[in-house]
Symmetry: C2
Subunit: 140 residues, 2 copies
Amino acid sequence: MKTPAALTEQFRSQGLKITPQRVAVFDALHDNPTHPTAESVHSAVVARMPTVSLRTVYQTLNDLAEMGEISRLEVGTGSARFDPNVEEPHHHLVCESCGMVRDLHVEVAPDLGDDVPDGFEVAGAELVVRGRCRSCADKD
Amino acid sequence: MKTPAALTEQFRSQGLKITPQRVAVFDALHDNPTHPTAESVHSAVVARMPTVSLRTVYQTLNDLAEMGEISRLEVGTGSARFDPNVEEPHHHLVCESCGMVRDLHVEVAPDLGDDVPDGFEVAGAELVVRGRCRSCADKD
DNA sequence: TTTATTTCTAACAATGGTTGCAGATTGGGT
DNA sequence: ACCCAATCTGCAACCATTGTTAGAAATAAA
């Protein structure tokens, strides 16, 4: 994801308006490595601007995802996770117990070639490694 | 997943009852490569036994998943998909346009080692390859 | 700066997938 | 055949997310 300042410029250049709600979402995502849910982005935003609705947060997250500035992950933790790191290709580590998601910088390089059916247009591949994080494992 | 007959035996040996509803679900899943949703399992079951409720199908799918006889996938198509193939490790190919899910027999072999944090207990890894299947690509 | 235009936001309702619950039903051991 | 625990159905509730709409607010135009 670009910096909030760069996003502001980009939105403006596309005829989109710069609202304090949008800027608050940009800020909440910037350099955020936690792969937040819409709900947690909303919490962060509300801490500064108590009137922002969850609907607006969803809207902005969808807009950013559509522009390719963030990516939306479905990792089976119930709600979608949003990842501002679209610059560096990477995968994810998920704790099935607490829902923590962490970047995983691992080369997958699957030799897809032979088992992809003819005519299938591959758009991308995501690896999700599941397990239990240390603090959850320590709990019992 | 074991055969319906073997599952029947297994259920019985665990003190669980063999109901026609459960058998219908076993049959609907047996050798089913489509990664059905709960809804489509229900449709198949209802074709033979019109009174079976969706709730019971969910219940049985959850039971089977808990026993490790099937696995539940979240691939971002809106609803969970159930996969009776737990014998052979494999990954998945997903058409983002029609929701088709297909097995992908590809070796991923990620050298996880260095980027997994200390103390994280890895339970498994799933690769999802996304794109457009031929028939969807042909459509426009 | 004021106005006009057009987008955005908030609130609320609605949706879709899934689960919780309660009472009626039924499998299977006796 | 009887009994009891397990199961089933039907329905309500739940959660994450999206649709809708009227009012508010940002930018462009005057």
